[in-house]
């Protein structure tokens, strides 16, 4: 079930909210667990068992890891938990990629299994793994209630596309949280912001990208417009989803970690990755980079650690070569930044720093979105005028004119201009105006997004495939 669907907005959400707010406090986690399982069953009837198994497995593993703490048994149990989680992820997400790679390398003809990818597997396996590791590292005590554990893993707001919520993030709230008007109100506002980002910006950028692949009259400028549109699509798609997830969490009394912080205003790629998919970056930092030694090793090992992390980051996004190239591309840029680019950037004007970041990001997302290596090479060659394409065509001008308003809106909203203005209003004598603006905004978003959904518009969530 998509957050941006009629079934979620007008059937699932009101029923769950109604039940959640009327049941006794002690039954709230159970309510959320049942609702979350239904949410998953609705989209993935068969793989729900996998989700239940994953929750149960780490619940039991963590219990015994804690019981046998400081013994070899504890270590073996952690390894067992990791093998199960990574085994599930590896089998369901990467098995066909591995078979195809082996076939290509050894010229074999092993049949691929064509296993459908369970929705959200990359997210919930990372959450359960971090839970077992945190118990092993004694950062947290194991959860005693199976219902609470199930609620942590299956919690529908963050189940299928993040943010990657660690057990430590919501440990206290799982055991004790209260219904607060400010949290519900802020949650609603955040949900509406996310819904608007997703339906009114990401989907329209997605339409541009889908149209781009189909129409004739490509040009160099058209390819750059596509790169911009896709970068904005993936940002508003994923940031919109994260906003909705954080907002829903807040309605139910949870405080989820932030996932985006205006990444397009970053002044370097290092800075960009502190602002983009922050929960994934910090997960890899805490559970891979630092255990490998981080930067407290020799320079060669440091660079190796960076490349390992970025190879895995690329692979996490998808079982395809372009994702690995995408990850390694960022690994390379980050190493180069540490070697000399960061020093250079400090000597140039802020505008050039931002242009540098935008250029790298646009190239990276063209790599990210290529469906084949041929398409990847063709896209990059076309952008850099190696494909003998005209610089601009009538079609480019037509579509540019058609999408210029929404492109400008998206560009403005990808910067913190709007929050800066609203904060100024809130701190001024006109602060009462927010009393009016916020409910109008919420109502408008609901009406306009509902209209767009009903008209059957383009509405995929990009991060569902990860």
């Amino acid at each position: 079930m998509l957050f941006s669907s009629i079934s979620f907005l007008y059937v699932f959400l009101p029923i769950v909210c109604f039940i959640y707010f009327i049941v006794p406090k002690k039954l709230r986690n159970l309510t959320l667990l049942i609702a979350s399982l239904f949410f998953y069953i609705y989209g993935e009837p068969v793989y729900t068992l996998l989700l239940v198994f994953s929750s149960l497995s780490d619940f039991i593993h963590a219990k015994f890891i804690y019981k046998y703490a400081d013994t070899k048994k504890s270590k073996y149990l952690l390894i067992s938990s990791l093998i199960i989680n990574l085994g599930m992820l590896g089998f369901f997400k990467y098995i066909d990629f591995i078979i195809i790679s082996i076939n290509n390398i050894f010229n074999l003809n092993v049949e691929v299994l064509n296993i459908p990818l369970p929705i959200g597997i990359s997210f919930f396996t990372f959450q359960t793994m971090s839970y077992s590791i945190d118990v092993y590292m004694k950062r947290v005590k194991p959860q005693r209630s199976l219902v609470n554990m199930g609620t942590f893993v299956c919690l529908f707001p963050q189940l299928i596309a993040g943010p990657i919520v660690r057990y430590t993030d919501i440990e206290k709230e799982l055991d004790n949280r209260s219904v607060r008007l400010d949290m519900i109100s802020n949650g609603i506002k955040r949900f509406a912001i996310g819904l608007g980002k997703k339906v009114m910006i990401a989907n329209l950028m997605g339409e541009f990208c889908a149209m781009f692949r189909l129409v004739e009259g490509k040009s160099v400028v058209f390819y750059w417009l596509y790169a911009i549109a896709f970068s904005l699509q993936i940002f508003f798609d994923f940031a919109g989803y994260s906003d909705m997830a954080i907002g829903l969490g807040s309605i139910f009394g949870f405080k989820f970690p932030e996932n985006f912080n205006y990444p397009f205003i970053a002044s370097s790629i290092t800075d960009f990755w502190r602002r983009w998919h922050m929960t994934l970056s910090s997960w890899f930092k805490d559970y891979v980079y630092i255990p490998l030694g981080g930067n407290r090793v020799s320079k060669v090992k440091w660079y190796r650690n960076i490349f390992i992390v970025w190879f895995l980051t690329g692979l996490w996004h998808g079982a395809a070569l372009n994702f690995i190239i995408w990850g390694l591309f960022f690994g390379l840029i980050l190493v180069l930044e540490k070697l000399f680019i960061l020093n250079l950037l400090q000597k140039v004007k802020p505008l050039f720093r931002h242009l540098y970041v935008i250029l790298i990001v646009l190239i990276s997302f063209v790599i990210f979105n290529a469906s084949t290596m041929t398409q990847l090479m063709n896209d990059l060659r076309s952008m850099f005028m190696f494909n003998n394409l005209p610089f601009i065509t009538v079609e480019t001008i037509y579509y540019f004119k058609s999408y210029i308003v929404i492109l400008l809106v998206a560009l403005i909203l990808s910067t913190p201009i709007v929050p800066i203005i609203t904060n100024k209003i809130k701190n001024s004598k006109y602060q009462n105006i927010t009393l009016l603006i916020e409910p109008i905004f919420i109502a408008l978003v609901l009406i306009v997004t509902t209209a767009s959904l009903i008209d059957g518009s383009f509405n995929p969530f990009l991060y569902f495939r990860f």
């Binding site: 079934s7 802020n186 037509y398 579509y399 409910p439 306009v448």
Partner: protein
């Protein structure tokens, strides 16, 4: 103060959600959308198979979208946001200019056009060796909106050339110069019968026919409100038009027979104005085989037109020059069985297709 603000946000959000949720529960299920001209999704079958396969949830999503309260109103809001707020040039494969709505078809599909011509050539080779064969192409509204709008479009003259280079006939009659944007309805793909008398004259002249007519030969009849096919597809609140049809004694005395409907029919039938497609007023709309006999004809000339829906309103303007016109629509009858319905014995033949149909030629049988 803050609590008041929080409460307002919460009340607004949940009131809207609850209003449409309860509204949906109370609303009766609609079977058909007149504006979109399609059947709406009913509540899907629910059993273990449909649930496990995911079929139920897919159909349920469609059911919710189709049966949502004020569906047409919401579609209108969406179109208005696209066109008036975001200034999109096109949406849902439609675009607007000065209240004219047209389908957005920027690309010429050479493969489909060649397939359509191959079906035409098949018919010529199989049935029409003794006939004088003419052909013409009806430009769709885009041709004129392109000039008007300077938007993207394929080269219509390239399409003409592609047809000319491949069709087994040398008798091309161009009607491009007899048309302009106002020859078409604003909300429909079709042309306005009162604006195509020159087209009829050009075709008659091109087929060596001396009889010409002008608007003064006819009585103009009006049906309203006419909302064309694009009106419903777009969902926007646009002024309705009037559907015009031209009559005179010769037309009213004609006898129409269809291969699909028993009995004699009329050239125009006002009752069909209330059909899903109001353009059915002309010759009953989509029909595979129609014969129009003119009992007042002063000659015994016969014409066969292989046609699409544009010809329904054109044929009445040509009937005075013939004793009989037969209309065949290769979208609804297979070319192998034509001789079961028509005797081919040297009649004049006109292949008359719109660019939209040629560009989607895979529908030819």
């Amino acid at each position: 103060m803050n609590n008041k603000k929080y409460l307002i946000n919460i009340i607004v959000f949940f009131t809207i959600i609850a209003f449409f949720s309860f509204g949906f529960l109370l609303k009766e299920t609609d079977e058909f959308s007149a504006s979109e001209r399609r059947a709406l999704q009913d509540f899907p079958t629910m059993n273990i198979d449909t649930i496990v396969s995911g079929k139920f949830t897919k159909q349920y999503e469609k059911y919710l979208l189709d049966q949502f309260m004020f569906r047409d109103g919401f579609r209108g809001i969406n179109s208005n946001v696209r066109f008036n707020l975001l200034k999109f040039s096109d949406y849902n494969n439609l675009y607007m200019n000065n209240d004219y709505i047209s389908n957005f078809e920027p690309t010429m599909d050479e493969k489909q056009i060649k397939y359509a011509i191959s079906r035409v050539n098949y018919v010529i080779d199989k049935y029409l060796q003794d006939s004088e064969i003419y052909y013409s192409i009806i430009p769709d509204k885009n041709y004129f909106m392109h000039e008007f709008n300077n938007t993207i479009s394929y080269d219509y003259h390239e399409l003409e050339k592609l047809v000319s280079d491949n069709i087994n006939s040398d008798n091309y009659i161009s009607i491009f110069d007899d048309l302009s944007l106002d020859s078409y309805y604003k909300t429909d793909l079709h042309w306005d019968q009162s604006k195509i008398i020159d087209v009829a004259n050009t075709l008659l002249s091109g087929m060596d026919n001396p009889m010409f007519s002008d608007i003064n030969n006819y009585t103009v009849n009006t049906l309203q409100p006419f909302n064309g096919v694009y009106y419903g597809q777009l969902g926007m609140n646009i002024d309705s038009e009037s559907l015009l049809y031209l009559t005179n004694d010769a037309i009213e005395n004609c006898v129409v027979t269809s291969a699909e409907i028993n009995g004699d029919l009329k050239i125009y039938d006002d009752n069909d104005f209330n059909n899903v497609d109001s353009y059915d007023v002309y010759l009953k709309g989509a029909q595979a085989v129609l014969e129009i006999t003119n009992p007042n004809s002063t000659n015994d000339k016969e014409l066969i037109i292989f046609r699409d829906s544009f010809t329904s309103s054109l044929t009445p303007l040509m009937i005075e020059s013939y004793s009989k016109i037969t209309l065949l629509d290769l979208r609804y009858i297979h070319s192998d069985i034509l001789s079961q319905y028509v005797t081919f014995d040297g009649q004049d033949v006109l292949f008359l297709y719109s660019t939209t149909i040629l560009n989607n030629g895979a529908i030819f049988k």
